[in-house]
Amino acid sequence: MRRVTLILREEVDPYLPIEAEAISPEILSKNIDVSVFVGNEKKKLKEVFDIRVDGEAAGPSATEIVMVGDCHQVKRVGEYMTNGRIIIEEDIGMHCGDFMDGGTIEIGGNAGDWLGREMLDGTIICHGNAGNYCGSGYRGGRKGVRGGELLVEGNVGDYCAECLFGGLVHVKGNAGIHAGCNMKGGKLLIEGDCLMPCGDMYAGEATIYGHVTDFLPTFRETGKVTESGHQLIVFNGDLANRNAKGTLRVGSFERI
């Protein structure tokens, strides 16, 4: 088991983005002498972080990366990771866990935009809030998240789980506008409220325990159901699509 602890140095300008796709178990289990971009400057990872390495490396699956300090400007952490663990004690920047295909990311603070974008497998747990496009696809892409589990214990921004294709996106707080729009599969669960969800939904299951504002008129009511103590109204849609097979369950709603 190898544990790599990265402590963000205090002299790093908090306004400069750090492009840190190198911070993933695949790369750091082999070599910690890698470089990252700070603004437009290429720097060694050890110039940006204080690095402590404990234990021997035995492949990415036995590697744990711990990030200490407010890393809100550190982007692309865990991009393309396939195994291992990343523990982030405080905030993390944009594009965390992009395209990840396995392993676990745990975030103690808040996450930036594009958390777990187009992830294929693995687990992301965020104890704080997440930004816009949490668990979504890339702009213009047809398939977003295709597998894995994404849990956000706080609130999320707009376009959560856009183009969801598989896996589970679970939000314990509220969501912004257009959660689950263009959904093509998978499961979306929002325990709080949201605004105008699931537009152009094609298939998949979306559940909203709270109240929906600006509910779209293109959903057909099909019945009622009780799930984990919540009375839910079931809809089929989005009927703007030719063969809409999506299921949307909401606690209460108010039409647009």
């Binding site: 890339y138 702009r139 213009g140 892409g141 047809r142 699509n241 030719r242």
Partner: protein, 566 residues
């Protein structure tokens, strides 16, 4: 800089040079017969040396291309390359950045590009994008498919007035030639309808597409333009449309000795048989038969290749039908009184019967046309496939073995609907040279300007491919052919080395060719009260703001004045 290209295996169909080992002298951007002093020597090492490639129909600049970029951010995920010495960062696959287009064409040995359709009102945008396409000369065909003034003039039988209107507009927007996309379709599309082939008159104008096409062809010849009318026939992509295509070809008289009288573009999309998608089949044979017998017609293939791409055309209703088929994204645009357009992304699949038949038809057109001067190689980039697929098409045309191998991978029912498996013809290097540069130069009227050949006085556009034609058997070593046509050893444009292997060597070499017919004062439309009234009454901009400023929008303006018979 002067150059001596040594040991070049030259194929130059215009000057009847078919594979001769010779030296080429380049001085002041032209080919000369005297050895220049102090010249740099490029050793071609017996490799295939051709005139610079010319694409006679491609969509690389203009508003609809940019709409494709807006609506497909996912396309920019492919083809990314970081900045290098002398090269900008590029991205995109089917609709790359302008620099991406320019670099990739240059690496393939292309030095001249023809933008297939420019809405006159959006000429500024098109010229600005051409400014940023640094390594190729640009020609821009201007859309006249729904021009109210020309339609009214031809409906009234006044072809001279139609010619004068065309001349005024070409001069104003700095266009090179006349393009008719789905003639009169744009006008009906603004009513939510489409024209049905060429015989039925459209309401309010009382003119049929056939009359319009004939009138515009006559007007084009009156103006003495270097290129003929460039026609995208009606009924694109509909089963059974080959009758309409042959009907349109039948309208074309033989009026010009130097070149064709009508250029039919992307004919693959117009050679379909059957009555519906269930009995959809190839009708490349009757179409090529007609072309073989009528030298006044030149066509291009419009080959499709399997994979992802973006379709974009001024044929708005056809794109709407495609959108209903795919149910994906769609962009549609109406350009005031001139034309329309539509853009959607598509994927051509091997497992799809219709796509497989379309793929076969393009190849059949090229193989069944006896004279390669009358069937040019294009993909209607990016509608059929991005232009980076040209080397693969060359491989398919030169090797029966490769065609059979590919044919085995497509939909099994294709065989009963096409004639491709029965065609044994394998094109030679000479024929490929005609189909990719010499034929284009002749069709576009560029031979007199020194393009498309390597004779003395010609512009020094030279492409040297890493292939020794005397030591290769294209029918067997097709993989080698594809690899070497994908990247030249050297590409030279007007005596400037623009690429060497995979490195771009130059910048800002582009020129824009445009036509300005010399019209007598009587037909000068800038003072015509009716045209001025049209602008004041119906256009969103004033007539004096309409013309494109030559100095500001064109990097290097090449004005071609033509003699008219008005």
């Amino acid at each position: 800089m002067d150059y001596i290209v040594k040991n070049a295996w030259v194929i130059d169909p215009v000057n009847k040079i078919s594979g001769e080992k010779m030296d080429l002298y380049v001085s002041n951007g032209r080919i000369t017969d005297e050895e220049p002093k102090g010249a740099e020597i490029i050793d071609a090492g017996g490799c295939l040396t051709l005139p610079g490639g010319i694409d006679s129909h491609t969509h690389i600049c203009g508003t609809k291309v940019n709409f494709g970029r807006y609506m497909s951010p996912e396309d920019m995920r492919a083809g990314r390359a970081p900045r290098r010495k002398g090269m900008r960062a590029v991205s995109g696959y089917s609709i790359p950045t302008t620099y991406g287009n320019s670099y990739r064409y240059a690496l393939m040995g292309y030095t001249t590009l023809t933008e297939g359709a420019m809405a006159p009102l959006e000429a500024r945008h098109t010229h600005e994008e051409f400014r940023s396409t640094p390594l190729q000369d640009g020609l821009i065909l201007t859309l006249f498919d729904g021009d109210w003034g020309v339609m009214r003039a031809i409906a009234a039988g006044d072809v001279k007035r139609a010619a004068a209107l065309i001349a005024w507009r070409l001069n104003a927007v700095k266009g090179y030639g006349v393009k008719l996309t789905n003639p009169l379709g744009a006008e009906l599309w603004s009513w939510g309808k489409n024209v049905d082939c060429i015989r039925k008159p459209i309401p309010y104008f009382d003119i049929s597409p056939a009359e319009y096409i004939k009138g515009v062809i006559e007007a084009n010849e009156m103006l003495g333009l270097p290129h003929s009318v460039h026609i995208h026939c009606n009924n694109l992509g509909k089963p059974g449309n080959y009758t309409c295509t042959i009907g349109t070809m039948g309208l074309v008289p033989d009026l010009n000795k130097k070149r064709q009288t009508a250029y039919m573009t992307h004919v693959q999309f117009h050679s379909y048989g059957g009555t519906g998608w269930k009995d959809f089949c190839s009708r490349a044979e009757p179409v090529t038969n007609y072309v073989n017998q009528h030298p006044q017609i030149t066509m291009d293939m419009g080959q499709i290749m399997f994979g992802r791409t973006t379709t974009m055309t001024a044929d708005g209703p056809m794109e709407f039908n495609l959108y209903r088929l795919h149910q994906d994204k769609w962009s549609n645009h109406d350009v005031e009184m001139e034309t329309a357009s539509g853009v959607i992304p598509v994927i051509y699949r091997r497992k799809n019967l219709v796509n497989s038949v379309m793929w076969s038809i393009g190849l059949e057109l090229a193989l069944l046309t006896k004279d390669p001067w009358h069937c040019l190689l294009t993909t209607d980039n990016p509608n059929g496939a991005p232009f980076v697929k040209y080397p693969e098409i060359i491989g398919l045309l030169m090797s029966k073995e490769y065609r059979d191998k590919e044919f085995a991978t497509i939909h099994p029912k294709t065989e009963s609907r096409v004639v491709l498996p029965a065609l044994d013809r394998e094109l030679t290097f000479d024929e490929i040279a005609v189909m990719t540069r010499a034929g284009q130069a002749k069709a576009l009227g560029l031979l007199d300007l020194g393009k498309g050949h390597l004779g003395f006085g010609a512009e020094a556009d030279i492409a040297i491919y890493p292939i020794k034609p005397d030591k290769i058997d294209p029918s067997k070593e097709y993989a080698e052919i594809i690899r070497s046509f994908a990247q030249t050893k050297y590409t030279m444009k007007l005596g400037v080395l623009i690429s060497k292997e995979d490195q771009i060597m130059a910048d800002n070499q582009n020129r824009t060719f445009w036509c300005s017919p010399k019209v007598p004062a009587k037909y000068d439309m800038s003072k015509d009260p009716e045209l001025i009234h049209t602008f004041n009454r119906y256009y969103t901009i004033r007539m004096e703001n309409y013309p494109v400023d030559e100095d500001y929008y064109l990097r290097k303006s090449m004005k071609i004045e033509t003699e008219t018979t008005l």
